[in-house]
Every structure is written in structure tokens, then in C-alpha cells.
């Protein structure tokens, strides 16, 4: 065992002091064989199948954590998009399907289950339509279910009519969960170029190209990258910063690979991917914003932030790709505003505006994530915000997402507490101008030309 003391202490320090952990082991379960003309039977099958496969997920996670000494924060389940499964049932009300998912999540002891999902980037099937109608009530009536929809892709363009409908879904969900500060919307996300192997909620689901069951792992580690750059100090140039991030990302990713393989072995299933996203938490030091500030901006949101984030995201991918041949999911840096203490502070001091955040999403791995806006934000404004984000993803052939929470009864600058991993948010001002005509027009924005890239 040729390890030096330095290597050993480095690993121990990462885990003990720099909050290195495996953010999630997500078990993907195909539910297509649960389709049934009778909706009740379909729900029975869904519940039974998920519980059969996911029953020992917690135990396996705890076992790996104990054996290897690496904390595994969350164990989760992702399923086939429910709109595919429910299509055979020809029912307008998909809330019972959400209840079945919720009950199964509870039986397996997982905190979130993703898969109340529809793909509508080109248009709606009957089942997609039913799912859209059911989302607000499903999120109100269940605790663990997360919902996601695909509204645009680079190949298909942007479905503006679907975005307009989705804006109404967001507002209705916020209204139904008003007593919890619109918390339902924190479990609701829309995508451009949705990935089919994403282990992170709220967007977790298993696409139709995935195997019967699969283990996907999401690693974290902003704290480790932050510590490495802090140790580097402000003198070395940006090549040195990129190199440091790459080396650190390599080590973090290897932990994900180890845990993913071990989880797959113990569950007897396929190991899918490691998602090498830097996923912040509200915990002190576990912040992507801190990394950007250490790279060299006064506050996240100041001029230079997008450039720093571009360096960070790219270096994480390069280091991660060297460490694992199974990199997938979203992979990059997450910038969920309410879940990152540094980002919240940047909003509070006025450094980070919604406009700057949007610019940052063109180089980060996801998009506008956990952004709070006033409860009286119009559907047209939401449509505009989502469409802008989808356009960034479509043109740059990358995944972008929007998870936005219109907080009922709150105006710009006010604070809302969701608690736990979801953190605290300061309501941001979307501005007083909207896009009523664009919202009303509907239709699609055609797919972009993928040549002449300037």
C-alpha cells in the first residue's frame, strides 16, 4: 500500500474539514412495464416495483458509508417519466400516480423521488396534457415527489406554448403551497436538453434509453475545491487555478466512481454515471460562490463572474472526465441561489442581479436554480424568464433549467426561509417590463442552425 502520509491526511482532511461527500446515490427504475389500462392497477404496479427494487437502497448506502468512511448524504429514486407510463391508462387525473410514487418513496425511506415528468418540447400527448394539469395538486398532496418537464431541445427548438402553460403551472403550484412559501415550486423544474441520467432532484428521471435499473451517483465537493484554491492563494495565474481545480475534481470524481461501482455491485445492478457537479449546500464553506470569489471577483455577480465560472465549470469537467469514463448527468457547477450561503449574501448586498445570474447560466451546468421572485409575478414574465433560459440552452447545445419560485405575498428584497437543503432566499426583482405579446403568441421557436458557429 504505497501511500504517503500527505496523501492519507489529504483525504481525511477533505472528508473531515472540507465537507467532501457523495451528494446522492440515485437508483433509476424503469416503469414502462407498469402501464395498465386500469389506472389503479398501474399505480399498484408502480408502487410494488419501486419498493421491490428500492427497499434496500438506504441500507446499501449506509453500508458503503460505514465501510469506506465517505458520507453519502442522500439516497434517491428516479423513474421513467410518468406521462409515458400513464398513457395506457387514458385518465385525465394523474395525481394518484404521484401518490403511488410518494408512498413508494416513503416505504423505501428516500427523501425525494423524481419522475413525475413529461417531454413536451415539440408538443403534447393526451398523457402529457393530463400530467401538466395534475402537477400543482400532485406537488401539494405529496411530500417526496419531484416533477420535471422538457420544454426545449437544440434539435426541436423551443415550445413556447408549453412554456406559457408551464408558467401557469408554476403560479398554481405556488398558490396551492402558499402556506409553505410556495415550496411546491422547489420540486418543479423545466429543462432545455434534459438529460436522461440526471441523479439530482428535482430533475431526476430515467429516460427511455436507460437500462431496467441503474445506479447514478452525484458527487459534491465545493468545499474541497474552495480549500484548494484558498491554499493556492491570490498570486498564481489562472492556468494554475484551472490546474488546481482539475486535480481536485479528479479526486472528488474518483470517490463518486468508487461509491457508484460499489453501490451497483451491492444492489446487483448496472452502474450508470457519475455526475461531477459541484453542488453547494447552505453549510458554511460548501459554496460555489466562495470559489468564484477566491478566483478573484469581489462578490459573485461582479464583472468577471461569468469568466470565473466558465473556468471553474470547464476545469471540473476536464478533471472529472480523466477520473471516470462514466461521466454524465449535468456535470459542472450548480448555482442554486437559495442553497448557497455565498450567493444569498451576494443577492443581499446587491451584487447579484437576476440578469447577471442569467448570464452566468450560459456557462454553468444547469441554469436558473432556486430563484425566488415576487408572488405577484405575471405568467407572461415567467414565460419570458423561462424562454430566455431555454434559448441559452438551445443555441449553446447545453442543458439549461429553470426552477423558479414565485413566493406568495412577498415582494422584492424580502426573505423566505424554506429550511434544510433548500435554504433561504431573498426575493429578486424581475423588473417592471414584461413580454405580454410574446407570451400570447405561443407556437414554437424553430431549432437553431448548427453550423456557422460564431
Amino acid at each position: 500500500m504505497p501511500f504517503t502520509d500527505r496523501e492519507i491526511l489529504e483525504t481525511v482532511r477533505m472528508i473531515e474539514l472540507e465537507t467532501l461527500d457523495i451528494r446522492t446515490i440515485t437508483l433509476g427504475i424503469n416503469l414502462l412495464d407498469c402501464a395498465d389500462p386500469d389506472p389503479e392497477s398501474a399505480c399498484e404496479k408502480i408502487y410494488t416495483k419501486i419498493v421491490q427494487h428500492g427497499r434496500n437502497l438506504q441500507e446499501v448506502g449506509r453500508g458503503i458509508s460505514a465501510d469506506y468512511g465517505i458520507p453519502i448524504v442522500n439516497k434517491r429514486i428516479a423513474t421513467t417519466p410518468i406521462s409515458y407510463v400513464a398513457a395506457a391508462s387514458a385518465t385525465d387525473d394523474l395525481v394518484p400516480f404521484a401518490r403511488a410514487l410518494d408512498a413508494a418513496a416513503k416505504a423505501c425511506g428516500v427523501d425525494f423521488i423524481g419522475g413525475f415528468t413529461a417531454y413536451v418540447h415539440k408538443g403534447f400527448t393526451h398523457a402529457d396534457d393530463a400530467l401538466f394539469r395534475s402537477i400543482p395538486r400532485a406537488l401539494k398532496e405529496t411530500q417526496h415527489v419531484c416533477s420535471s418537464v422538457s420544454l426545449a431541445t437544440t434539435k426541436a427548438g423551443i415550445n413556447m406554448s408549453a412554456i406559457a402553460r408551464f408558467s401557469d403551472v408554476i403560479l398554481e403550484t405556488a398558490r396551492l403551497t402558499a402556506d409553505q412559501g410556495g415550496l411546491g415550486c422547489a420540486k418543479l423544474v423545466c429543462f432545455c436538453n434534459a438529460v436522461e441520467d440526471n441523479p439530482f432532484v428535482a430533475g431526476a428521471h430515467i429516460g427511455t434509453g436507460e437500462p431496467e435499473t441503474v445506479v447514478n451517483v452525484g458527487v459534491s465537493g465545493p468545499g474541497v475545491v474552495r480549500a484548494a484554491i484558498a491554499k493556492l492563494g491570490p498570486e498564481p495565474d489562472l492556468l494554475a487555478v484551472a490546474e488546481t481545480v482539475k486535480r481536485t475534481a479528479f479526486k472528488i470524481t474518483r470517490m463518486g466512481e468508487l461509491v457508484g461501482r460499489e453501490a451497483a455491485r451491492r444492489l446487483g445492478t448496472t452502474f450508470g454515471i457519475v455526475d461531477i457537479s459541484l453542488a453547494p449546500t447552505p453549510a458554511a464553506g460548501d459554496s460555489v460562490s466562495d470559489i468564484l470569489e477566491l478566483i478573484g471577483v469581489d462578490r459573485t455577480g461582479a464583472p468577471g463572474t461569468t469568466a470565473a465560472l466558465a473556468l471553474l465549470t470547464d476545469a471540473v469537467k476536464k478533471g472529472g472526465a480523466m477520473a471516470s469514463s462514466s461521466v454524465g448527468g449535468l456535470s459542472g457547477a450548480f448555482i442554486p441561489v437559495s442553497e448557497d450561503a455565498g450567493m444569498i449574501e451576494a443577492v443581499r448586498v446587491g451584487a447579484l442581479s437576476l440578469a447577471k445570474l442569467e448570464a452566468m447560466t450560459s456557462v454553468c451546468s444547469v441554469g436558473l436554480d432556486m430563484v425566488a421572485v415576487p408572488g405577484d409575478t405575471s405568467a407572461a414574465t415567467l414565460t419570458g424568464i423561462i424562454a430566455d433560459e431555454m434559448a441559452i440552452g438551445m443555441v449553446n447545445a447545453k442543458t439549461t433549467a429553470v426552477r423558479i419560485i414565485p413566493v406568495p405575498g412577498k415582494g422584492p428584497g424580502e426573505t423566505v426561509e424554506w429550511g434544510g437543503l433548500l435554504g433561504t432566499a431573498i426575493v429578486q426583482d424581475p423588473g417592471k417590463f414584461s413580454c405580454g405579446i410574446l407570451h400570447r403568441r405561443g407556437g414554437r421557436i424553430p431549432a437553431p442552425i448548427q453550423s456557422y458557429k460564431n
Binding site: 491526511l9 424503469n30 404496479k45 421491490q52 468512511g69 435499473t213 466512481e257 445492478t269 480523466m322
Partner: protein, 169 residues
């Protein structure tokens, strides 16, 4: 393809006994419905018990292709040993190292490498250890990690594979 027997299937069934194919999953609701109606669900070979989950056609292949990263040699003498890295830190006092190594000796573990430093009354020990075949990692981990205490010292036991994955290409 997973086969299911749902409560609807039970309600539609005629007769007091439903015979299902091997590998069929009977939903919880179907089991309740059958019990309430006094219907027996059985397979050809006997009474029903839930089949092991079928993880799909890819699972077997995936299991075989897993280890190709920095793993210890698959053959030879080393292969059957479990490598363990132990770190301990705390207030220095006579006998700390002896306590830890005595626990290791009890478990028939052999120490491959050891380093210790004391700075201003606090010690730090790193031990690389091999466990003989058949001796349980979990057992030695729980024994060692229960030693010391908050005012004395803390021990951390980790599988060697963690370090191999993190520090070797």
C-alpha cells in the same frame, strides 16, 4: 419484463386458488384483496413468496465489467488481503500507540507502515495495515473507532481502496 398480479386480477379471478407463473410479483393490494376474499395465491412449486428483484438484462454484464480502475492485483498472495488505513489523533500520553497496536494484534492484522508525530502535546498516527483473509473489516473498524474518546483521541479506519481511487491514476 416484470409480470404483476394486481387486486383487479384477483377480483376478476374465478375460484378459490390463483396459480401464478414463477417470477410474478403480487402487489400488496392484491395480497390484501385475496386475503379478504379467502383466495389463495400460489405458484406451481408452492406458496407465493416475493421473487428477487430482476435488475434487467444489462445487470450481469455490468457486474462483470466493473473493476478496471486502480485495483490491487487480482491474483497472487496480495489479492486475499484487505488493506486498511488507520489514522488517529489526540492528546499525547504514554501507551496510546500500544493500545491501538494491541487491538490490531488481537485481530491478527499486520502493520505494514507506521508514522507518528507529536506537536505541542498532540499526537498524530498513520498506520497502514493488512487484514488476513477472513477477518472482518467491519469488526476491526468498530473496535478501533470505539477506542479513545472525546477528551482522549479519535481513530478513523478506512478501506485502502478509498486512497487508491483518489490518489492513483
Amino acid at each position: 419484463m416484470t409480470r404483476f398480479l394486481t387486486s383487479e386480477d384477483v377480483r376478476r379471478a374465478s375460484g378459490r386458488v390463483i396459480e401464478i407463473e414463477e417470477g410474478t410479483i403480487v402487489t400488496a393490494q392484491a395480497q390484501d384483496t385475496a386475503r379478504d376474499a379467502g383466495i389463495v395465491i400460489k405458484t406451481r412449486s408452492g406458496s407465493y413468496s416475493e421473487p428477487a428483484p430482476s435488475r434487467g438484462p444489462d445487470a450481469g454484464q455490468a457486474q462483470r465489467s466493473l473493476p478496471h480502475l486502480p485495483e490491487p492485483p487480482a491474483e497472487g498472495e496480495l489479492a486475499s488481503y484487505t488493506g486498511v488505513v488507520i489514522t488517529a489523533a489526540g492528546r499525547n500520553r504514554p501507551g496510546v500507540l500500544a493500545e491501538i497496536t494491541a487491538a490490531l494484534a488481537n485481530s491478527k492484522a499486520s502493520v505494514l507502515d507506521i508514522s507518528q508525530k507529536v506537536v505541542e502535546g498532540y499526537f498524530h498516527i498513520v498506520l497502514m495495515v493488512e487484514l488476513p483473509p477472513g477477518s472482518g473489516f467491519a469488526q476491526i473498524k468498530s473496535t478501533l473507532e470505539c477506542m479513545g474518546g472525546p477528551d482522549d483521541y479519535v481513530v478513523r479506519v478506512m478501506h485502502e481502496r478509498v486512497f487508491r481511487f483518489m490518489h492513483r491514476v
